[in-house]
């Protein structure tokens, strides 16, 4: 495997290059996926049937906590990648751990939020609106969950194998994914929650 040392570690081999481009294209597909979900959501947002509307069920506090948690985690993963480029293994791992803990906390609050919705009579089966809402949020939450496992595996690999072109590449791609989820959350926060509460 040819390693080009003039480039950052995550770009240093041809295979790494391919993987990063491939992942960007995957993010393109993910954007379409969430765009479709948003389209469905905005089409169905007023079709509440006998169920509650968004304004009736949204609560600002958990949503704000979730937003802060996820935004912070996006920042810490950025710091992690920075540390990785400086070849600081311990610091990289530290930031990864912080990111994962924040992600986990986000997930916890989101689970609380979901139980709250079910509790106030906005379960999945209640109306087209609740179905679209919970599916959109759920898809994002599922991405975060998968990301947590994935990030954890990469963490273990960094611990065991050190910062090699391979682990650096994985970490970098993971950070792209994590930032992407953050951006999706900003859309969810602005257009689902804030717009819904107004």
């Amino acid at each position: 495997m040819k390693v080009d040392n003039s480039l950052p570690l995550e770009y240093s081999t041809e295979e790494n290059n391919l993987k990063i481009l491939g992942f960007w294209i995957f993010i393109g597909a993910e954007i379409m996926l969430f765009a479709t979900l948003f389209t469905a959501y905005f089409t169905l947002v007023n079709r509440t049937g006998n169920g509650p509307t968004g304004a009736e069920i949204f609560e600002i506090t958990p949503v704000l906590i979730e937003t802060i948690l996820l935004l912070t985690s996006s920042f810490t993963i950025g710091l992690g990648i920075h540390a990785m480029r400086l070849n600081k293994k311990k610091a990289t791992m530290g930031f990864f751990i912080v990111t994962l803990i924040l992600g986990l906390a986000f997930l916890g609050v989101e689970i609380y939020e979901f139980t709250h919705y079910v509790h106030v009579g906005a379960g999945l089966q209640v109306s087209a609106f609740t179905a679209a809402l919970l599916t959109t949020l759920g898809t994002h939450g599922l991405h975060v969950t998968l990301g947590l496992f994935w990030g954890f595996f990469i963490l273990l690999q960094i611990k065991k194998r050190g910062l090699t072109p391979e682990t650096a590449n994985k970490s970098f791609i993971f950070s792209l994914y994590w930032h992407f989820l953050d951006i999706i959350w900003i859309f969810i926060f602005s257009f689902i929650y804030l717009k819904g509460m107004m």
Binding site: T43, L44, N46, R47
Partner: protein, 308 residues
């Protein structure tokens, strides 16, 4: 080889033209109302235009194939390298654009025609008929006359008709080819179809959109008659047909096939059509306002009126 191709083309053209112009006119090309006429004219116009395009392409193809086939060339002929020519390509883009612009104008004009009261009937008050489908039947409610029929439709000639379409179940499509094109009937909104018959006659009507096991037989008969005959029929129904009760209607919309039947009163009274707005569609609300006072409760006791 080229002969075979010409032969195929010739057969095709002959078949199409005999059938299109031949003895038995095709339903769609045999319009009995202004909307169907607009559509049939568009169709014939586009057929001729498109046939022209096909012939031109075919002529060029046959010409180059004959002229430049290997057996027609010297053995040592080396075809030249040609990248392209801006003028030629501009023509290849330009002519299709002109054709598309022309057809777009025709298409847009016709769009507005078929979505409005039929031409020549603007001064008349349209007859409003609610046509709703259930598996696998059509229910026609005449709010003005306070009549409801199943699987058949009587309409007066020379009067614009506004069909309000909706469905108890899958998406269906209300289609009377000789009076005009189809439109969907759906469960959560009302669509409007403007038709008119300009002569008396019997026409085939059907659901054109696949709706399950009983779809093939989901048809109805349309009879256009003179206004006098129509008035006579309305009166006869009021004298003879039973009243449509909620229980009876529930029974009628059970899945299955039924023959023709007639009732006084409409189901609109106890089962209102989906006119409520979900706040989602920007489409159907515009022109429904003028027809809202169809609550004419002239309930008479009537006898059975069967029309099988």
């Amino acid at each position: 080889m080229k002969l075979k191709m010409k032969w195929i083309l010739l057969t095709m053209v002959i078949t199409i033209s005999t059938v299109l112009t031949g003895c038995e006119p095709l339903l769609v090309l045999d319009p009995k109302g202004p909307q169907a006429k607009t559509q049939a004219d568009d169709i014939m116009l586009s057929i001729w235009l498109m046939l022209g395009i096909v012939v031109v392409v075919l002529a060029i193809l046959v010409f180059v194939l004959l002229k430049y086939r290997a057996s027609n060339q010297p053995k040592d002929y080396e075809p030249p390298h040609i990248e392209g020519n801006h003028l030629v390509e501009a023509i290849c883009v330009g002519i299709p654009i002109l054709i598309v612009i022309f057809l777009s104008i025709v298409s847009v004009k016709s769009n507005y025609e078929v979505e409005a009261t039929p031409a020549g009937y603007e001064d008349q008050e349209p007859l409003i008929i609610y046509a709703s489908s259930s598996n696998w039947k059509w229910h026609f409610s005449y709010p003005e006359e306070n009549i409801e029929t199943v699987n058949y439709l009587y309409i007066p000639e020379d009067r614009p008709i506004e069909f309000k379409l909706y469905s108890y179940g899958p998406i269906t499509s209300f289609w009377i080819p000789q009076l005009g094109g189809q439109k969907y009937a759906m469960s959560d909104m009302i669509t409007t179809l403007h038709l008119a018959a300009d002569q008396p006659g019997e026409f085939m009507g059907r659901n054109a959109n696949f709706s399950g096991a009983g779809f093939a037989e989901n048809t109805f008969e349309v009879t256009a008659m003179t206004p006098a005959e129509y008035q006579e029929w309305v009166e006869e129904v009021h004298e003879t047909a039973p009243r449509l009760t909620e229980e009876k209607f529930e029974e009628l919309i059970e899945p299955g096939h039924l023959g023709r039947s007639t009732y006084t009163g409409t189901h609109l009274e106890f089962a209102p059509p989906p006119e409520h707005d979900h706040g989602s569609s920007d489409t159907e609300v515009e022109e429904d306002s003028h027809s809202e006072d169809h609550e004419k409760h002239d309930s008479q006791d009537t006898n059975e009126h069967s029309n099988h």
